[in-house]
Amino acid sequence: MTMTSNNGSDLAAVEMVSVTVDGVTIEVPRGTLAIRAAELLGVEIPRFCDHPLLDPVAACRACLIEVEGMPKPQPACAQVVSDGMHIRTQVSSPVAREAQEGVLEFLLLNHPLDCPVCDKGGECPLQNQAMSVGRPQTRFDGEKRVFDKPINVSAEILLDRERCVSCARCTRFADQIAGDPMLELLERGAKQQVGTAADQPFDSYFSGNTVQICPVGALTSAAYRFRARPFDLVSVPTTCEHCASGCSLRTDYRRDTVTRRLAWADPEVNEEWNCDKGRFAFPYLREGRITSPMIREAGELRPASWPEALDAAARGLAAAGSSTGVLVGGRSTVEDAYAYARFARVALGSDNIDFRVRESSSEEAAFLAAVIAGTPVTTTYESLEQAPIVMTVALEPEDESPIVFLRLRKAARSGRTRIVNVGAVATKGLTKVRGELLAALPGAEAQVLQMLPADIRRALGQPGAVILVGERIASVVGGPSAVAALATETGASLAWVPRRAGERGALDAGALAGLLPGGRQLVDPSARKQVAAAWGIDASELPTGVGFAGENLLAAARDGVLGALVSGGVELGDYPDHALAAAAFTGVGFLVSLEHHHSAITEQADVVFPVAVVTEKSGTFLDWEGRPRPFGQVFRDSLYESDARVLGMIATTMERRLGPSDVAGIRREHAGLGLWEGFRGQVPDRVPGFTMMGEHQFALASWRALIDAGVMQEGEPFLAATARQVGVWMSARTAASLDHPSQVRVIGPGGSIVLPVQVAEVIDKVVVLPMNSPGCSIYRDLGARVGDAVGLVTVKRHEGEGS
């Protein structure tokens, strides 16, 4: 069973009541529902509408029990137990048993005989409960009601209304948990049905959860439709690789192909939910893979054997030696990132390493090293739920960390938590968490943080207050400094919420110039000693000077200061300065690329190694809390090797001694380092930047939509179709000043793009564009970064084509 923790922090204060279920007396916390009390005794009462994370509704009546002193059978899912209450379930009460059988007979009345063609067949609560409490034969000889089937409630979610038992789990999930009440019950009586408004599909980021909690096969997903039966599937617990929320997932596969992913219950992290990206974006695991090593010969890449490729890589890297740069993408596990960090320092003798393959700044690096890297887990999902106030800065949780968003919504619904966002848009996501907007021009957040309204500053001083800062703070001059200062001054706990699953782990593993594992500074003698001991080298063998990072590293590669690059999990399009990044990868003398998919970088590489995707290796992600989220290997006989192993092989070929390259060995070595208590580096203290705009210019705000043009979402058209519409968000006043255009041309420093206008709660003088969605990348199309000034020109409809 799942017990929802109402107040985990003071368990001792929970008042207990004693309740008797089928003659057995137990103590349960006050407020416990009868259905849960019975579960504690191992009595499973049938249920459909009941779900531990949804408000009780008592609609299906499948869980009727007898309560002493009450004339009628009561629904166990809504009956709160009181002290001394006597409950009799179907185990001991003929009344309860008969009531439950009656309700089940009713539920099957209009339920079609679809089991052979229904995706739920084999794991269907209705099937199971029909077996346990149903009649062996039907007494119904009338005509069942019919509906057209199936209908799409969104591109991804299909609805078969004939199968629906009207339990309202999906509608309550949409309304209560996701805050997307597009799914609603319509009509009445036997014609009651789930549906959406004609012009408003169920395009929720969390729509897949309704498929999982549907107790019948009424809601199914286009992705899994007719793919397999439960008994075909092997289920493996895994961790989601799509973002830093760290969801536990169940990965189901059949014959070496992942058929679906489900949210795995983890009360401390994702509860029982996940987002649609985590659920549906998995075809990339199989499609478009690099299948063998490749080396460049006479200007062309050609497949090569492993020894040949290893030899080529080793020769090239040995030649470049300490003038090699290492780039570690956000898909890396902790173990892989640790291997990169170690490979750079030990095998190459280089400190030119960065995991931030996106917009970054040296201020951010200092902030992360001083405040975040290697710190133990203090701010958790539970802290969000208990916080009196949560302030989000440079973070749009619904898009950038959906489970954080769900937890914030839960906190807001409880009425305990006030949510404040420092940003330029009151997004729908902010409305759903009942948040307030503290207006800040993009790039000028630091100023706002320094001049917070007194009540917010006071609220942040309350115990339990939390500040969540997103990775986009890197684009704010003085932003990291201001956030760190605010946390210190108010005493609020501070957490950094990166977008990608691997970033927090890579930070802790030391995949950043100047930073050794666990937040140890490269320049700190005792830190050097500890790390050198763990790596089996002398401290003097570690690089001495802090290496290049961020755009400096790219520039050094472009300018020939660096002789070689090793890159793993890097997308060219993620760098804001497209030209710089492209020049770095084409201009560098020698490029080794470790990727699972072909990309613009592998095209340029001298040696390409195929590496394992998450299902082909084990490993760990650190979620934004810093909580380790280990996962096992799904496909145990995969021929692909992890990044760590490939690096180990290269080192061996280079005749450099590196520590273990297997997951267990790396974990042992990494853990052996322990927590770092020493010097962490100086907290940055930069003067806030400001946003400069001309009179007819607008500041550009942007972030990555949850469902966008990311490469790990490829191959899933149904998911892509549920993405938010791409357009330019602007305030109603801005739209009015442009005479309400339907489309505008947005002109950036390096290009322009025509997009439809969407009026939103944006502050004036700001426009919002998606950072990397189909048909709009601000880096590629505008050559602009967040905070840059852009111009707007109204476009007549016929001019819109071919921008």
Partner: protein, 189 residues
Amino acid sequence: MAELPQAARGFGVTFFTMFKKVVTEQYPEDRDKYPPKPRFHGRHQLNRWADGLEKCIGCELCAWACPADAIFVEGASNSEEERFSPGERYGRVYQINYLRCIFCGLCIEACPTRALTMTNDYELADSSRASLIYEKVDLLGPMLPGMLPAPHPMVPGLTDSDYYAGKVKGSVPEQANDRPAAGGLGATS
């Protein structure tokens, strides 16, 4: 010397047996003379509706029932453009591994649409493992008169329920996907 009559008696048995009717059946020469019993469990067949659409809906109940794990099925969606069976779902992949099959017939019992039945064909020897995994094309029943090879639409105006109610007696010209029918009988509903 007392043993000789014993030996002679033994040969006597042999001698007289030479004049008895033989029970040996000659295979393959005389196989047609001795057909198996009608309910003999032979090779499987995937049946078709009278208009040629497949009865198999890819539900995998046969695979579920199989005690030898000899059956592999993968379902898929019918679409308006490409319909293999009435209703939403059809069996895209259907394989029976005759090296594993024990001919128990539980799959036949499990089949909800009578798509899977057994024939009397017992000649299932072959020279490789791969060739003893029968694919859907090997298992599908013959095209009888009035049938059109799937995919093609259902009989116009009828639903999958009408197929199950036995209202389809053959294909109609509207169902033809530029493919000739095997001599149409027409649908009566």
